[in-house]
């Protein structure tokens, strides 16, 4: 069920991000969600794209990147919607490494991307709590 995130190692220097984004855009790839983690010398660009396979080809051996399975949970775009998700994970003692959110195409539709160690357990838990999670297929736009 989980969705695939691409994590790209970028040097912390002007132009590095633009170059990577440009390459993806030139190949007609839509970035559905993204976040950047930064350190002194480098950053990690984390993206969820419309076509993972093509994106991997584009990044090819020009970039250092990895594929990471993450949980994308659907929630309504209103205050307090994140709360039941976090509570469920917290009560099951599932540690969140990082997370970021994006809004969906439907009205009042939002998603939260969650990086956990055990994606399967986290998804089952969320589903059991009535929270929908997405698969790669549902993101191909």
């Amino acid at each position: 069920m989980a969705i695939t995130q691409l994590s790209v190692f970028l040097m912390n220097q002007p132009g590095a991000l633009i170059e990577a984004i440009q390459a993806l855009s030139d190949a007609g790839i839509n970035i559905r969600a993204m976040s950047i983690a930064e350190a002194n010398d480098f950053g990690i660009l984390r993206i969820i794209v419309s076509d993972t396979d093509t994106a991997c080809k584009v990044l090819g051996d020009k970039y250092l990147f990895s594929k990471t399975e993450v949980v994308a949970a659907l929630m309504s775009d209103r205050s307090g919607a994140l709360y039941p998700i976090l509570t469920a994970l917290n009560e099951a003692n599932i540690n969140i490494e990082y997370m970021y959110a994006f809004t969906g195409s439907g009205p009042e539709e939002a998603y939260v991307v969650i990086r956990v160690n055990d994606v399967k357990t986290a998804e089952e838990l969320l589903n059991a709590n009535g929270i929908r999670t997405l698969s790669d297929e549902s993101l191909k736009i």
Partner: protein, 434 residues
């Protein structure tokens, strides 16, 4: 079992060794003064005559010779005898393209082969042994040196030369070689090939190996010892001083005994040329005490190492040199600490990184800054920032342990380290620009 090839000299009391050295040195100074005008001029420039050199304590007064002198005097300028008295040459490629050619009289060959014979006996060799020499033969000194030493000991000598690994293995198995002599990298390669062919380390009859002619680490030693099922001995030498056998390891494997009755060793500060006190790291300098055809005095090897004069449990009384830790040309002094790029490479390999790195030195508020850029490989990359930062910290502390000084580690993307004509630039020293 025979422990020494020439016990009288190898275990001689220190006073005896000193006496031999002094006697040979005085004779050698006259030989060089009379026969090598190039060196005579160097002495005259310093206002020296042979009378100023009475004991080895006077050696520090003598001028140095370096690779540049060999280049300038190529090919005959440092020859100490008539060519008709020479019986052989050996040669090595110089770093700047011009070759070094060394000459030997029969006496020179004899003393060199004695040195190699000492190394073979120290590795357990007797006339019962089968010595497989897979150093290259020819202009290179490795093959001839160990070959001659093996003859002197009375071993059955297999003059294999290097290469043709299949044939090496066939002879090793069929003729039951017991001692192998080659470069450590070739020994490791043979070990791998044996394994590939389904042989176990105990399937061969080898008991010892004598390896030299290139830098190698303790880790490599353990690997070779394991894969071949042998004890691996180090040997040191350079064409300028004869070839292998100038120094060799005993069963203690704690430094190589220098054949001090033929070669006088000094450790100097590579920058000032000052002789350094006992136990200091510095450049190794050799004076050939009784070579006739190529009598180099105070030859700067560029190898950095330490001498150890403490008595060795093997009974040999000759000084031991540590495995050279690098070339003086490569040594960096960072905040007063000697650092060799090769040490950084060792840490990277130990920690599972590729040896793609770059050292950047600069100066900030009168203090050296020390940054090491390291390429991350795809299998090390993680989407977790904490993981990558942990890798940086781990590498920093491994570097501090090895070097005694901690660099700032910067992980960078693969293939981003500056390359010049395909070769990675390992050191950028911006301190020199200020």
């Amino acid at each position: 079992m025979k422990r020494y090839y020439q016990p009288e000299i190898e275990t001689a009391p220190r006073e005896k060794i000193l006496e031999i050295q002094n006697e040979k040195l005085v004779k050698q100074i006259h030989h060089v003064w009379d026969n090598v005008p190039y060196y005579r001029h160097l002495m005259e420039e310093k206002g020296l005559t042979p009378d100023d050199i009475k004991t080895v304590d006077d050696i520090h007064k003598l001028p140095f010779l370096s690779k540049a002198d060999l280049r300038d005097t190529y090919p005959y300028g440092l020859l100490g005898t008539d060519l008709k008295d020479c019986v052989r040459i050996h040669s090595t490629s110089g770093t700047t393209g011009k070759r070094v050619v060394a000459f030997y009289t029969q006496h020179d060959i004899d003393l060199w082969e004695d040195c190699c014979a000492r190394a073979i006996v120290a590795a357990g060799g007797t006339e019962e042994d089968v010595v497989q020499v897979c150093y290259g033969y020819g202009l290179f000194t490795g093959g001839s040196g160990l070959h001659g030493g093996s003859h002197k000991v009375g071993c059955l000598t297999l003059p294999m030369s290097s290469g043709n690994t299949e044939r090496q293995i066939q002879f090793m198995m069929d003729l039951e070689s017991t001692i192998i002599c080659c470069t450590p990298s070739y020994a490791a390669y043979i070990g791998e090939s044996l394994k590939e062919q389904g042989f176990k380390p105990e399937d061969n009859k080898l008991k010892a190996g004598i390896f030299g002619a290139e830098p190698w680490t303790e880790e490599m030693r353990h690997e070779i010892e394991k894969s071949l099922g042998i004890k691996a001995y180090d040997i040191y030498g350079l064409t300028e001083t004869s070839g292998p056998g100038v120094a060799f390891e005993c069963e203690e494997q704690k430094g190589m005994h220098i054949n001090e009755d033929h070669f006088y060793a000094e450790i100097i500060d590579p920058d000032t040329g000052e002789v350094l006190p006992e136990g200091s790291v510095g450049e190794l300098v050799f004076t050939a005490l009784d070579k006739e055809a190529f009598p180099l005095l105070r030859y700067r090897t560029r190898d950095l190492c330490v001498l150890n004069r403490t008595p060795c449990s093997c009974g040999r009384t000759h000084v031991r040199m540590a495995k050279p830790m690098g070339r003086s040309d490569d040594m960096l002094i960072i905040r007063g600490v000697n650092v060799f790029p090769s040490q950084i490479e060792t840490v990277l390999l130990n920690e599972g990184y590729t040896p793609n790195y770059q050292i950047v030195l600069d100066r900030e508020r009168n203090t050296d800054t020390f940054d090491v850029y390291v390429e991350v490989s795809p299998d090390q990359f993680s989407d977790l920032m904490g993981q990558i930062q942990k890798m940086e910290k781990g590498l920093e502390s491994a570097m501090r342990t090895m070097l005694g000084i901690g660099p700032k580690i910067h992980l960078v993307a693969p293939k981003t380290i500056t390359r010049s004509e395909g070769k990675a630039v390992r050191v950028i020293d911006k301190r020199k620009l200020h």
